[in-house]
């Protein structure tokens, strides 16, 4: 509670003696740290599994070019810049989730309960990361959709009929990153709800 006083205007300094004498105990259960840390762990797990599935998606197949001539052509995730961005964005999300889960856990164990400043920072960074991960999901989804169905107007042929395991890996990875985005959305909702509840309580 002492950390609040430095950011207040001097007009509220008159209330200081009242606050110091009776620290309100109900703030401890106000910010639901269990749900917060659980969601961040879920974010870490889905992002990690998504990266692993995408990175291990290589597949090599024998493509017949002409009758009697067949060459081995690989399908790797590095062949598309959208998938490269996908892996990079999700690794950032993975790292971020570890750092914020540790921070959230540490601040929940403090005797004064969780601080509003941390929730405020969490909202901003979670919203920014939500944008990044949603963009990665959309980019990989867009390219995968073309690979799945092809595009007759531009002359882009589908590849999922030949590279079935590669397409399956990519589809599973995109589904997991969709779950990551939804987890980030829930985290932002939780932090905003906690901030609003703290305001009405005062």
């Amino acid at each position: 509670m002492a950390s609040y006083d430095t950011t207040f205007s001097p007009a509220a300094a008159a209330e200081e003696p009242l606050k110091r004498s009776a620290p309100p105990p109900e703030y401890k259960g106000d910010c639901s740290p269990v749900v917060d840390v659980a969601l961040r762990v879920l974010l870490f797990l889905t992002a990690l599994v998504s990266i692993i599935v995408m990175v291990t998606s290589n597949q090599t197949k024998l493509i017949p070019l002409a009758p009697g001539l067949a060459i081995r052509l690989p399908a790797k995730f590095e062949h598309s810049p959208a998938f490269i961005y996908f892996v990079v964005a999700l690794s950032v999300a993975c790292l971020y989730s570890i750092i914020t889960a540790v921070l959230s856990l540490l601040s929940a164990m403090k005797p004064s309960g969780c601080s509003a400043k941390m929730q405020f920072h969490f909202v901003m960074f979670d919203a920014l990361l939500l944008g990044i991960v949603a963009a990665a999901t959309g980019a990989a989804g867009g390219v995968a959709y073309i690979g799945f169905k092809g595009n007759s107007h531009t002359g882009w042929s589908k590849i999922c009929n030949t590279y079935d395991s590669f397409c399956f890996h990519v589809a599973a990875s995109i589904l997991l990153s969709l779950i990551s985005s939804i987890t980030l959305l829930l985290l932002v909702w939780l932090s905003i709800y906690v901030l609003y509840k703290k305001t009405t309580r005062r």
Binding site: S80, I132, G141, L185, R202
Partner: protein
């Protein structure tokens, strides 16, 4: 609702906002900007088509034949997604602008619900931007590994208009992100 202002933060009521309402002018301005930008992006991409002719040599001995080719935004599902996402965002911006103006100085839950939906719009617009960006990049550069040729050398006006629409949509999504940040700052200032 007035009790919150009188509780202890004396002298801040006058500075806080224009008028009695809890909604600041900057929030309304950014919301209106988001409306304009998403509407512009949807319109620019929705009116995007180009017809040119491509000269193709079918038989080496004969002169090249001019084939008419068309590029429309409907041909690419990622662009369809971008137009639909921007249309939804524009519609939502109108609704939330009306609701925020009508509920000025009223219930607090309105701002909470509007902020919650703002974040959903951020995710939607960013994902549409990512999809259109990835597909546009393939159209611009092609993908030699997957045997997907580039199309922007033929349809240059189409590609430029798509790029303009994507920039407008990106600015619209940044506006929505800014709205979330502004709402959080407004709540945090009350501590």
């Amino acid at each position: 609702m007035d009790m919150q202002y009188k509780e202890g933060i004396n002298g801040e009521v006058g500075i806080r906002s224009a008028g009695k309402g809890k909604v600041k002018r900057s929030d309304l301005f950014v919301r209106f900007l988001a409306l304009v930008l998403t509407l512009a992006a949807a319109v620019v991409l929705g009116a995007n088509n180009q017809s040119t002719t491509v000269s193709v040599k079918i038989v080496p001995s004969l002169p090249p034949v001019n084939l008419p080719v068309t590029a429309k935004w409907l041909y690419m599902s990622a662009f369809v997604y971008l137009v639909i996402a921007n249309a939804i965002a524009c519609f939502y911006a109108t609704m939330s602008l009306v609701v925020t103006l009508a509920a000025r100085g009223g219930k607090k839950n309105v701002t909470l619900i509007v902020t919650i939906l703002d974040i959903v719009m951020v995710a939607l617009l960013f994902s549409a931007m990512g999809a259109a960006g990835a597909v546009g990049l393939i159209g611009l550069k092609g993908n030699s590994h997957l045997q997907w040729g580039k199309v922007c050398n033929v349809f240059d006006k189409f590609c430029h208009q798509t790029a303009a629409a994507m920039i407008l949509s990106f600015n619209g999504s940044i506006c929505y992100l800014l709205l979330v940040v502004l709402a959080t700052i407004n709540v945090y200032k009350k501590f």
